[in-house]
Subunit: 201 residues, 2 copies
């Protein structure tokens, strides 16, 4: 039983790696089996079908992706704290896992309906944070603006460079991948400064 569980986890890890790189449609069960060091039949023994294996991986990825967000936008932090925390935490995670956002987005784009349920369970409720923004605007701490636009800006600035990494690396860093990642390291504070500079009165 201890052994069983271990195999299952090895499969999930391998499937995660392959699905994230190739997507559901592009991934091959053979490739996942190779990555896990086992054979195709065993994948079906544990997960019955490619679709079920994918669902397991996808829900795993969603959970870990949005957990951080849930805490940061829970409403217990000020706008400045949340913006700095979000930039630092997400850009750090994305430097380690640059393929995840594009993967999630691609799968959601393909089939919004089917995954809506799965997603709604995992997506954080950000209304508390929108209220914090409104409160700080009312108090005159930050300039007047649509709270949703501010939140969208924060998310966009942190995540997009990784989603568009191939293009950005080509267009802005002449294909030099190291230069890209070094800029991302600095970006953790640069982005926060950029946002806070814009919203201060």
């Amino acid at each position: 039983m201890g052994e069983d569980k271990k195999t299952e986890e090895v499969i999930l890890e391998a499937a995660k790696t392959v699905f994230i790189r190739k997507g559901m449609d592009g991934a091959r069960m053979q490739e996942i089996a190779d990555e896990a060091g086992i054979n195709k039949a065993l994948l079906h023994y544990y997960f019955r079908s490619k679709q079920k294996l994918f669902d397991a991986v996808f829900s795993m990825v969603l959970r870990s992706t949005f957990n951080e967000m849930r805490e940061i936008f829970s409403g217990e932090f000020s706008v400045e704290q949340a913006v700095r925390k979000f930039a630092d935490s997400y850009i750090n995670t994305l430097i380690q896992n640059p393929y995840i956002p594009e993967f999630v987005i691609h799968e959601l784009n393909k089939d919004v309906e089917a995954l809506q349920l799965l997603v709604s369970k995992n997506l954080p409720d950000i209304t508390p944070f929108l209220q914090v923004i409104e409160k700080e605007i009312a108090e005159g701490k930050i300039r007047k603006m649509d709270p949703r636009q501010l939140l969208m800006n924060t998310i966009s600035l942190c995540i997009f460079p990784f989603v568009g990494r191939p293009i950005i690396t080509t267009i802005l860093f002449e294909g030099d991948s190291n230069a890209f990642y070094q800029t991302m390291e600095r970006r953790k504070s640069d982005v926060a400064d950029f946002i806070l500079n814009s919203i201060k009165k």
Copy 2:
């Protein structure tokens, strides 16, 4: 011969629609044939293979996508002009074609090598604009910052909401698609204001 060309264009349009929604791997030749109102065999008669048909569509999409960018970042506009032009022009285009960025990004992520040549021919050279930014910093018109970060910010803020549209619509607009698009209309000026507010001294 006039008839021939028309069929070819009908196929290209249909292929574009299907490829953009489903991606290369998810698209089916049968679906493209249906969309074009013809049969599979004719697709092969005109384009020999799915791959060649895809390449034709992809290079078409790349060209139209980056043409606007080339002009805006040519160096003939000031930072403020370029930012306002870019936000207005790209958000307008994306309201009409919201699936294009995710499509391009997904295909590039899957196979960076193979498409590198295709891409490098289409990607604009943005160094002139980076120099404009540096010049305006030197002149004290805008605050000191990494020109690449500013350009990345501008691109991120305009494009990301469309790439992440399914998630953003769910998380920020309770699934109300109209609310999303109305916010994007306002975003054309909001984003420009947000950026210019942040960089002014």
